[in-house]
Structures are given as C-alpha cells and as structure tokens.
Point group: C2
Chain length 258, copies 2
DNA sequence: CCTGAAGTATAACCTATGTTACATCATCGG
DNA sequence: CCGATGATGTAACATAGGTTATACTTCAGG
C-alpha cells in the first residue's frame, strides 16, 4: 500500500542509474534507504563475490555447530529454524534475497538455530571480520546494516505475536502479508500474487500448528474468498480485509524517513 | 523483593572493590566476556550517566511512536510487548539489568514494540549517536554489543519456539529456565530460587495462554514437584528434570569461548 | 507410460486450552 | 481497622486445534 509508493521511487532510481540496476538485492535494499556512493556500492558488491549454491533442503547453518560465517542471500528463499528433541520443528523466519544471516556472529561460537535452503539458493559467503571492517570504514553502510537488524527484530517480534495471540486463520493471513510487504521493499512484488515455495508442512511449522489444521484454515480463507491458491502461489484478494482480520501492522516493515 | 537482595549484593560489592565492582550491570556482563580496559570501562560508565527512574507500569517506549533513544537497564525488570487492537497483549521479552533496549534505533523512526517497567526501574538514557561512536573508537565494546545482539536474537528465537511448539507446562518451565540462566550470567542468581515479579496475567501474556490455564499449569508443575512457589518467587526443584521436560537448550544462553 | 514418493484434501474423533463465573486472599489508603 | 482493588485459585463448560486415517493429486525417475 504505502509501500507501493516507495517501490516506485526505487524502480525509478534503478532505471535511471546504471550500477544500481545490476545491483545485488542487498544493494537494492540498502539503496532504498539512502543513496549509496559508487565506492559504497563497489564495496558491498565486492563483499558478495564469494558465492555458494545450495540445493533445496540443504542445511548451511546447523544449530549447535560452530558458526563463524556471515551469509547474504542473493537468490531464492532460506528458512531459519530449530528442531526439538521430540522432532517437532519451529521455523523462526524466512530469509529472502538481500537478507543477511549471521550478521552478529563475531564472538558467538555456536549457532542457536539452523538454516536451510527452501528453494535452490544462491548465497554469498562473507568473513564476519569484513563486517566489522564496515563500521569503521563505511558509516552509511553500517547504519544500513543496523536498520536491517532492527527490521529482523521487528519481523521476529511479529512472529511471536502471531504464535502467541492469533488464531490459525489470522496467523496464515498475517504471514502472507508479511512476505508480501517484504517483497514489496526489494521490488519483487507481483501484484496481489505472492510466491509461496513452502509446503503446507512448512507453513504449519512456521505457524505452530498441525499440518491438517493448516490445510483446514487455508481452505477456510479460500472459502471466504480472502485468498486464492494456485501452485506455489497465493493471491491476496483483499489486502485491506486481510490486514484487518489478521491485525497486521504494516508499519513494522515500512521504511522510515531518514 | 529480591531486587532488594540484588541491590544489596551490588551495594556490597560496590563498597569492596573500586573499579570493576562498582560496575554497572552492563559492564559486568561485557566484562564476563573479555577483560575490559580502564578506558573502556570508563567510557561505558560515562555512557550511563544520564539516568531515569520509572515506576512500575510506566511505559517508556510506545509502539508506533518515535523512538530515537537507547535505554540501558540498570536496576529492575522491564518488558517489551505489543498490544493488538482487540486488546490482547503479547509480551515479547524481559529486559534485566545490563540489557539494552533500542540498540539498533539509529535510523528507524518508530518503535515496533512498547516497553514498560515491570518493577521500579532505573534506566540510563543514551543518545544512539554515542552507540555509533563506539564501533569506531572501541572495537572490543562493539564486539560485545554485537554479542548482546546475537543473544537477544537467540532469546527471542527461543520465545518463538516456546509459543509455537511447547505445551503450556513446558512453556512455563522453559521460561523459568531462561530467566534463571540469564540471572546466572549477570551473577545475580540466588540458588534455585528465582525472582518472579510478574503476575500470572503477565506470564499468560508472555506464553500466549489464558490466565486460567496459566494458573492451572503452574499448579500442575507444583503438583509433580518440579517447582515450588512463594510470593514473587519460584524455586526450581529439579533443574535437570525441568530442562528435559521443557526441551530447554542452555547453550543458547551460555557464553562462548573467545 | 508406470510407479513410488511427496504433497494436498477431508472426515471423525479427541484433548489441550479458552471462557465464564465465583470464591478466597493479600495489600493499601484512609 | 475497613473496604476497595488486584491477584490467585478452582470448577464447569465450550471450542479451536491436534491426531489418526485414508484418498486423491502431482511429478520425477526408470
């Protein structure tokens, strides 16, 4: 909604200036916050030179194991999750292109979560020491990363609200809205259609529900015509109504005025 | 109650040892990670000069309003929470002495959560620009703050696991264990006894349950003798059993090897 | 073109948790 | 010392959501 506006601004800038176009999603994301200098863009792109491809289902961070790497998502979706000893899984968050995993990894030796590729995934692998370097040499980028961190907190906080205080149907709607708004920011939005590469089991593990009830609740959202579902895609038929019924707060994901 | 106690400890130490001892909880917390230089300690203490007292129940961060301040908890408990339009509240996390609220506030203009004093609270009020200053001048402190951030993520992730995948009794046990371990780090642990300044309604709002069911579940934990309850305190009668039954993972809160 | 594996759909039944209602117990200002 | 207010305890009943079971559908690989 109000993100529409910002996306267009972004798009406008992107078509005008060359470098931003070929830019990695991270540069596009940070570039949406404030103009980046050539030097800053170059540094950010250079940071992402070392890439890694992961097949669907491949874990690249494993809870309890050493983690001394920062990953930046270039293409595809990843999930952050945790598995209990009884086998139940809780997906904590989705990482989309431009998102960073392990930004604050410097000291902490062991991962407190696992991460795996939900779709074929292209990651860049960054030495966290280079992240530290940033704060000294590129204050603007540092501020951008700090904003990313605040945003991750907001997203995870929303996830807690979903899990703690929303009904099954609300949780689904709320999650779809979150993803829809997040895609809007990186300019990858496709009208009301939203790519949903996860299975219903994944959705269930995200929203703290059973597979059966996830299916039931999806159906009931379809029945009242709030969403339409097609292979790997969901259409948000009435964003306003969805926002209202799910108590979604778009402000948590909107940009800020500098 | 035990705030009395901890204050005394603090006070007691303060009279004994000069520098490290009169230290603020934040200095103690970071000092537990790595030795801090005199200069670093001085800077951190200076950072916290500007203090503010808040009565129980007083909101000092309000969701949706401008937030351009960083707060450090000096004494007492705070909660971070979010209220839905239907009036339901979800408590996201507890802030204990040494914890920082709004560390990544620089850019983002509006708060995505509220925060309020759960007990009489002493906060220090910090200009976020001074936080930025840190990363340039005090790399060790910057690394410590980065570790704090990673830890907050781990704690919030655990909260999501609780809400999404644990039963009511497990949630209670899991939360108590989290708090117990967190107090252990700042050295304010009182044996198996744990201060619980929150009401059962607060607990319910933390764990995504109703007040009645919170009461029921507490009783059932008492009945099987895993905990004992006394005014504002809980005794963890069998930490090992509690860890097992609640699938708590102490690693998420443990320190790291440098 | 068939087969098996993974995903989706749906029904029937069960249980954990929510809701409403009320009693009891502290605490605190007057 | 009293009454009001907020917190805790518990019972009875209602329901959202979990579980088990079984089809159906898609799709990749032989």
């Amino acid at each position: 909604m109000n993100i529409e506006g910002t996306r267009q601004v972004q798009g406008g800038i992107a078509t005008d200036l060359k470098p931003a176009m070929s830019a990695s999603p991270l540069v596009r994301k940070l570039g949406a916050l404030c103009l980046l200098s050539e030097e800053e863009i170059e540094f950010l792109e250079g940071l992402q030179n070392n890439t890694l491809n992961a097949d669907r289902g491949r874990d690249f961070i494993v809870e309890g194991k050493d983690l001394r790497t920062t990953f930046i998502v270039i293409e595809g979706w990843a999930i952050r999750y945790s598995v209990l000893s009884n086998g139940r899984r809780q997906i904590l968050s989705y990482a989309l292109p431009g998102d960073i995993l392990g930004l604050h990894v410097n000291f902490r030796a062991t991962a407190t979560y696992s991460a795996s590729a939900l779709t074929p995934l292209k990651l860049s692998v960054v030495d966290p020491r280079r992240v530290i370097e940033i704060s000294q040499k590129f204050p603007i980028i540092a501020a951008g990363l700090s904003w990313c961190t605040a945003r991750e907190f907001a997203i995870l906080g929303d996830q807690a609200v979903r899990l703690g205080r929303l009904s099954a149907r609300q949780r689904l709607a709320h999650l779809f809205l979150e993803l829809w708004h997040r895609f809007a920011l990186i300019g990858d939005n496709n009208g009301d259609w939203l790519e949903i590469p996860m299975t219903q089991q994944d959705l269930a593990d995200t929203l703290g529900m059973s597979l059966v009830h996830t299916n039931r609740s999806l159906k009931s959202l379809r029945d009242i015509d709030l969403i339409s579902v097609e292979k790997d895609h969901v259409r948000l038929n009435n964003v306003k109504a969805l926002i209202e019924m799910s108590e979604f707060n778009p402000e948590h994901l909107s940009e800020f005025e500098i």
